[in-house]
Each structure stands twice: as C-alpha cells, then as structure tokens.
C-alpha cells in the first residue's frame, strides 16, 4: 500500500467519523426527552397520577405546535416512594435513556437524593413538582434543581399570614411527627409570631405518622382550651384528622388551620363527613378563581380523565409550560442554555394568573388560597369558602432569606 493511499484512507475515515459526530447538531430538530420519576404505586399514587395527567394535558397543547421543530416526549419510572429506587431510576434515565431533563417526585427524600446525586453530579436539570420540602430550593438548592411545587416554607408563611388576620391569641400546635409536620409547624409559627408578636403557644402534641385514632389527641387538646390550633398533617393522617375533628365536635368548638385541608382530593372522599369551619391553604382549586382560563382547564381535564384536576396536576401543567417556553427561549436543546432560559421565566398558568420561575432560588412563584370549609349548597361534599388570595410575593420567603439558609 503506497503512503499517499494510506493517508487518503485515514483522511476519509476522519471525515466519516467527524461527520457522524456532527450529525446530531447538523440534523433536523429532534424531540425533547423528559424523564419522570414519581410514585405510581401505594397511597401516594393518587398524586403521582394526577400530576402525570396534568403534564400529559399540557403536552397535548404544546405538541400541537411543537418546540424547536420537535415534540416533548416523556418516559415514566415508578419509584414506589423509595429513595434508593428513585435515585437508581433517575440515574438510569440520564445514563441510558439520555433524557434532557428530569421531573418528579412526590417524595421529598427522593427529590433531595436525585437533586444531589444526579442533577448536581451529572449537570442535568431536575424540576421537582410535588414534594414540599423547603430544603429542595432552599438550603440544599443549586443551579440544576428547580421546584414548581409549593413548599413548606411557603405553606407555613401562607398559614402565618392568613392566621395573623384572625383574632386568636392562644395556639396549640399538633401534627405528624416527621419532617413535613415539623417543617410546616416551624414555618407557620415563625411567620405568625413575626406578624403578630402577642400570640402564645400553650402546648404541642405530635403523633406518629399514620396514627389511625386521633380522638385521644383532640380530647386532650380541647381540655387545654386554646383559641385556635395549627394542625400539621398530610396524606392519610389528614383524613383521619378531619374525621376526628368532626366526630369529636372539635371543629365546631375550636378553629383550626391545616395546610391543604381544603384540597378537593382530601375533602371529596369524606363527602358530607368532612368538618365545616376548618381553615386551609392550597395553591390550586378547580372551582376558584372562576376565570375563563381555569374553567377551560378544568373542563379539558375532566373530559380527558373523568375527574377535576388537583394541585399536582396544576404543578405539572405549569412545569410543562415552563419547559416548553424555556426551550423556545433557549433556541436549542442544551442543558445549560435551558437553565439560563428558565431562570426568571414567566408563563400564564392554567388559572390565568402568572407563574414565575424565580431566578434566585429556582422556586416557582404563584398565589395561594386561604379558605374555610363549608358544605357545598347542592353537592354532597365540602368545599372551601370565604377564600382569601395571598399573592405569590406575600407567601414567598425573600431571596435574601433563602440565600442565607444556603450559606450556612
């Protein structure tokens, strides 16, 4: 083989290799791949499925026009509410499925693990859409993690702001004895105390998570005669708590605030058995505000899935909107450019009000609703009434406050 012929072959090989390497960049637009890790089995599956439905509904609209000439497609993994499973699945989605970004989950522990072990380590954007731990975008936040879920700091602040408008002085705090319960309690009390310094905490009680019988707790609290009670509970315990509030007559005697007590997913199964007069906070209600946008969203959702959307569907819907708009703004499918684009991005959420992805801490900002339970005049279930809208800025910890926690 002559020397020139050999170098010609090398050159040819080089050109072929290079052009193959260039192919993705040169080729026509491709689809954006979203990897979803969430709980699709066990009791939290209710929320996982609601979120997925919201996401799918948003994508139907978005994919009609497409994003950067392609579509947004997704693949799901069931983390079974287990931190180690979630972490392994997130890694698998990034390493083997080559997803462009990760989305999920309802489990705070899993979200923090993915945030640290995959998003930060592999430099892949990760948007948390249901988990409520304020550490996700607070103390443990970083460039690659985002949250479209409301978190315990926001919930607690919303509770504090709402309760400060009420005349109560002597408070009792009670709740599930785990991270979520204590985080809500701390945030609510801190904010309430700051806004209204003369409030007094006369006692606390904490029950183990999933405690079926809360009647002994309620009878002992009512014996202490507080003006109002802050209950910090969620999931199955929330239903237990509401049932016990009604059965003991507690709700009729002593006012109480429970974050998400006005969630339709909580109140609907209870039917007429849900207590009236319990105050709660939430970021989404399918019957309020009665804007044309919200009505259209609820109608489309009900038509597709047979039931009205809950707050996870709302969170997931705005997640899809933010993803689509950020890629359009970035102009190409690139992880770093995506992050630059989504920071400070504003979209018009399904209720018609604006949602902003705050640049400083990567936390979505939207209003919260503070309302009191009352029986629906026609239907056989309880809904929120006397709804007070707390603006996004009112319920969000400031950027300075968040950055302070990160420096510690």
């Amino acid at each position: 083989m002559s020397k020139s012929r050999f170098s010609g072959m090398v050159l040819f090989g080089l050109v072929v290799t290079l052009s193959l390497m260039m192919l993705p960049a040169l080729s026509e637009a491709r689809d954006i791949k979203v990897g979803i890790v969430d709980t699709y089995s066990g009791p939290p599956a209710v929320y996982g499925n609601d979120a997925l439905n919201g996401f799918k509904l948003a994508l139907e609209e978005i994919n009609k026009q497409g994003v950067l000439g392609g579509k947004i497609e997704f693949t799901t993994r069931d983390e079974k509410f287990k931190v180690d499973v979630a972490l392994a699945m997130a890694k698998e989605l990034v390493m083997r499925e080559n997803v462009d970004l990760l989305v999920g989950t309802i489990n705070s522990g899993a979200s923090l693990a993915i945030s640290d072990g995959v998003a930060k380590a592999e430099k892949v954007p990760f948007i948390v859409w249901t988990a409520k731990d304020e550490k996700i975008t607070g103390e443990l936040g970083h460039r690659y993690v985002f949250s479209t879920a409301e978190n315990t700091a926001m919930a607690g602040k919303a509770g504090g702001v709402g309760l400060a408008k009420k005349p109560y002085k002597k408070y009792w705090i009670a709740g599930d004895d785990y991270a979520y319960g204590h985080a809500i309690a701390d945030a609510a009390w801190r904010n309430l105390k700051a806004l209204k310094p003369d409030v007094e905490k006369i006692g606390e009680s904490w029950w183990k998570i999933g405690e079926p019988d809360l009647v002994p707790y309620l009878t002992s609290i009512s014996a202490a005669k507080p003006d109002a009670v802050i209950f910090c509970t969620g999931g199955a315990s929330m239903t237990n708590c509401l049932k016990a509030l009604k059965a003991t007559g507690f709700a009729a005697k002593i006012p109480s605030w429970i974050h998400t007590a006005i969630d339709h997913a909580v109140l609907k199964p209870l039917g007429a058995e849900a207590p009236e007069g319990v105050t709660g906070t939430i970021q989404y209600l399918f019957y309020y505000p009665e804007t044309p946008e919200n009505k259209a969203f609820v109608q489309a959702f009900e038509k597709a899935y047979g039931n009205p959307p809950g707050f996870p569907a709302f969170n997931a819907y705005i997640t899809a909107q933010l993803i689509a708009e950020a890629y359009k703004k970035a102009g190409k499918i690139d992880k770093e450019k995506f992050i630059d684009a989504i920071e400070g991005l504003k979209v018009k959420g399904p209720t018609g009000s604006m949602v902003e992805m705050r640049a400083c801490d990567h936390q979505a900002v939207y209003p919260m609703y503070f309302g009191t339970t009352k029986k629906h005049p026609q239907q056989d279930f309880v809904i929120a009434t006397d709804i007070l809208t707390l603006s996004g800025n009112e319920v969000m910890p400031t950027c300075d406050e968040v950055m302070k926690t990160r420096k510690k």
């Binding site: 089995s41 066990g42 009791p43 939290p44 599956a45 209710v46 009670a174 004895d177 006692g203 606390e204 009680s205 904490w206 029950w207 183990k208 999933g210 405690e211 079926p212 019988d213 009647v215 002994p216 707790y217 009878t219 002992s220 609290i221 014996a223 202490a224 199955a236 929330m238 239903t239 237990n240 049932k243 016990a244 059965a247 003991t248 007559g249 199964p269 209870l270 039917g271 007429a272 058995e273």
Partner: protein
C-alpha cells in the same frame, strides 16, 4: 398544667374505646396463635380487607342499612378469604417451624396488600357512621363521641361472646384442647384439620370485624395493615400468648397508656404505649397472664 376531672374522664373513655378495637383484632390474632401456633402477620391484612369490604358494602347499599350490613358482611368476606387461604396454604404448613411460618405469613401479607390495591385502588377511602352516631355522649361530666361509646359497648360483648364460645360450646372446648395437645385431640377421633380451619377462620373473622368497626373513624388506606399488626403482636406478647383475656389486658394497657400519655405529655405521646410494653416485659417476660405456649 392542670386538668379538670372531666378532661381526665373523657380521655379515659376515649382510651377505653381504642382498647376495644385493639382487643377485637388482637383476640383473633391471639386465638390463632394459641390454637394453631401460627404467628399470623397477615392478620393485619385481613383487618385491612375488612375495612375495604365495609367500604364497598356501604357503597352498594347506601344509608344506615349499608353500615349495619357492612358490620355483618365485611367480617364474613374476610372469613371467606381466610378460609380459602387456610385450605389452600396454611393447612399444609402447620408442622413447619415458627420462623418459616413467620416468613410465609409475611409474604402473604404483602400479596394480600397488593391484591387490595388491585381490587380497590390506591385512593383513600372513607365511610360514614349513621346519623345516629353524630355528636357526643356525656357521662359524669366527661364527653365521648357517640361512635366511640358504641365501641365501648361492642368490645365487652365480643369478649363475653368469645369466652362463652370457647368455654361453653363443644367446638370451642375442642379448639382449646387442640391448643394444649393437638395429638391427643386427634387420638380421640376428632378431625383436627377441620378444627384448625374453623379456629383460623374465626380468628380472621375477628380481624375483619375490627376493620369494619374501625372503618368509619379513619381513612381506609393501604398501609393500615402494618400499623395494626405491630401493635397487635406487642399486645398479644404482653398479655400472654394465646390467652384471650391477655389480649384484653394488653389492649387496655396499650390503649390507656396512649390516651393518658397524650393528655399529660403530648410531645412524647408516641413513646408511652411502647414504654408500657417494655416495663411489662421487664417485669413479666412471658406476659401478664398465662401463656398457652
């Protein structure tokens, strides 16, 4: 903090009513332990099936009638499930060692848990007690929700019924005899296999009854099986394995220590029943009443 007598009285009654549910479930567990020597981890699953069945029955038959029907039918559904499990699986395994049975029943509890999920879905369920139970009952200044008062009456009724059955009926006596010496019972010409099947189904019926009775006061959800079974085994252990009155004593200790813990030291209420268990086991390692093992 000062407490008036009525608060203490209410707390006592509420603790008692909780004890009654625990008793109904653990009496069944203890019975199966005593007669069959099976530590049935799946007992909690049957309790859960009882609650879910009660939910379905109240959906089929609305109104108060549905509730009362559920109280009768849900335990029967559980009894049917347990009968199938006994004839198909358990009856071949009685001679195995306890560790093996423990593993087997644990596996069964996982399978039943998944079957419940397939049948009823993952959503929380809730059923209502009839209007009759709205409001509270006042006794000597203490007040207690009516439904809890109803449980206070049901508990002793079940206890007496079970006692009459095991002590006054032929079948009950045979079951007790089989608990003490199964070979001897077989030797006098009694079909021990069917006695065991009956004892197992009766024990599981109690789990279903407990689940159905508990259903109106809680959210019916996956995972309620594991909650109750841990407490159940602790109660059976401190009361004396296989002893029905032991289950009663254990349930009272557990329910009342929890209720008073909540009243006097609410931040640390969770530890009270478990502390009570530790103290009992330190003083009487075999349980308070005579164990049949």
């Amino acid at each position: 903090m000062a407490f008036d007598l009525s608060a203490i009285g209410s707390q006592f009654l509420v603790g008692l009513s909780r004890s009654m549910i625990l008793f109904i479930v653990t009496a069944g567990l203890s019975f199966v332990l005593g007669v069959l020597r099976v530590p049935n981890v799946a007992h909690g699953s049957l309790y859960m099936i009882g609650a879910f069945s009660a939910f379905s029955i109240t959906k089929l038959v609305p109104g108060p009638a549905g509730f009362w029907l559920a109280l009768v039918m849900a335990p029967l559904v559980v009894a049917a499930v347990s009968f199938i499990a006994e004839r198909a699986l358990f009856c071949h395994l009685y001679q195995r060692e306890h560790l093996m049975l423990l593993l087997f029943t644990f596996a069964l509890s996982l399978i039943l848990g998944d079957l419940v999920k397939l049948t009823w879905g993952a959503e929380y369920k809730s059923i209502m007690a009839p209007k009759l139970f709205d409001g509270s009952v006042h006794i000597f200044g203490a007040s207690i929700p009516r439904y809890n008062f109803f449980l206070l009456i049901i508990g002793p009724l079940v206890a007496v019924g079970l006692w009459l059955f095991t002590n006054k009926t032929r079948l009950g006596k045979i079951a007790r005899a089989a608990a003490v010496d199964r070979e001897m019972v077989g030797a006098v010409g009694i079909n021990v296999s069917w006695v065991f099947a009956f004892a197992f189904v009766l024990g599981c019926f109690m789990a279903g009854l407990g689940g159905a009775l508990m259903a109106p006061t809680i959210s019916i959800t996956l995972g309620m099986d594991h909650n109750i079974i841990i407490e159940g085994f602790l109660i059976v252990t401190i009361g004396g394995l296989g002893n029905m009155w032991g289950a009663m004593v254990g349930s009272l200790i557990f329910g009342l220590s929890q209720a008073f813990g909540v009243l006097f030291w609410p931040q640390f209420a969770i530890v009270f029943p478990y502390t009570a268990v530790v103290i009992v086991l330190l003083l009487r390692p075999t349980g308070i009443l005579k164990s049949v093992w």
